[in-house]
Amino acid sequence: MKSSGQAWKFGNNIDTDLIIPARYLNSHNPQELAKHAMEDADATWASKVQKGDFIVAGDNFGCGSSREHAPIAIKAAGVSAVIAKSFARIFYRNAINIGLPILESPDAAEAIKEGDEIKVNLVTGEIDNLTSGMSYSAQPFPGFMQQIIDAGGLIEYIKTKKK
């Protein structure tokens, strides 16, 4: 599972109201949400982002509300993974549960610049910056979480356990 695309940089404490404002939460349709992803951080981002691109952010990405609409909007916008220095707790759970890849790597998040061409191996957590030639490795997930990720999210994981 390798993905490549361009990096979109965001700062620290990107909250879920920035990721998907509450005024759009009267819908939970992923395509509808994707149209407004990151809108209050960058009003035109949703129209610029290309399938396969990456969000690269600072500390505490996804802080604030528990709305799963946030990782759903990002995923439906075509983002292949979010790379951040750290993630807020509920966002972290939600991303794993719905199958949005997230990578915690303070070094990568610091060094990658807006527009850099990034390649990520989602199995090994290796992040290559094709523009600068630098490579980084993300924190591995604990085994149990990796199982949820491998199953394709929490619901699929529970289904396999039930069998």
Partner: protein, 420 residues
Amino acid sequence: MRQQTISEKILAKHASLKSVEPGQLINCKVDLVLGNDITAPPAIQEFAKIGVSKVFNKKKIYLVPDHFSPAKDIKSAEQIKMMREFARKYGIVNFFEIGCMGIEHVLLPEMGAIKAGDLVIGADSHTCTYGALGAFSTGVGSTDMAAAMATGEVWFKVPEQLKFVFTGKLNKWVEAKDLILYTIGQIGVDGARYMSMEFTGPVIRQLSVEGRLTMANMAIEAGGKNGIFEVDDKTAAYLKKTGAGKGLVYKSDPEAEYKQIFKWEASAIEPQVSLPHLPSNTKPVGKCKSIKIHQSVIGSCTNGRIEDMRLAAKILKGKRIHRDVRCIILPGTQNISLQMIKEGLMKTFIEAGAVVSTPTCGPCLGGHMGILAEGERSISTTNRNFVGRMGHPKSEVYLSNVAVAAASAITGRISSPEDL
């Protein structure tokens, strides 16, 4: 055996383990699963994919349509309808139609749904509120909610523990809200990321249970997984009054391990204001006084309890809301509205020129009932002041306690009740 905190003991008990330690991954049985009109619809969709024919327990699932209700538009009405139909289909007892609905985190404690020692998850980040009653309670997303509705279980990583000790005496006009805003201001919006926050000390023991609910409510604004308070006589009396029953009371062991212990002297704390756009951006009210406001919101799951309404009325009694300010009062539940009528608070508010809403989250999350236009500013007793939280991305929210929000509504600028 390992010396443990209250939070660790509740987690261990629900994982059927003797003890747990930070970092450990555990599977817990839950006592209550909560969802609202934003988070329940996706959970219901995910629940259908699991392929079970019934929910784990018809009485332990709480569905509260509070965010966009009474339905503000067609899409919101569809979401609430989906909850209603799901509740009927699966025989879920605790679905709250308007008329008995309230803001979830005000309603559940009030109706006795939560008792000490419970393990509660809710698809709402402010589910951490119930820690005030000695429960381990935390927010999750819709998929976790779906899984818990099917299995009655949820996975956790045992959090590290932080302790906050407040000593001394509260200054005049300082409320529980100020203690939590101060805490967030000191440690930052990720200061307790993934961690438990235990609040204790003589000042905490003096607080009412309502005040403790206000503090636990905002643990998430410091990134915390849960906030927790030791059960004392006040908690026991509250739990008895609500009919919850006392539950299981845990105390932190004397040698329990904390990642960090913070000790603060309450007399050094003034009423706090969180400036845009982070709850951690706090200043004493004295340093914010030239700031003009257009709106004052008093209510929400943070400060929408009867004690808050009484305090707001005490300040607004016989006064007039400033002509350039809209003052919106949002009691948390129907019972609180009724009590306000009995005590004459409604009259006070209306005579002062404030409007009183039916219980709803409303403007707290920029839903409806008081949205801000471009360039407008609101002082608010709610819990978040992120960009666009109450409306236009170029509007601003200033968080404060009840007395400051009420006083500011009168003067038109951020004010302390001392200024009246």
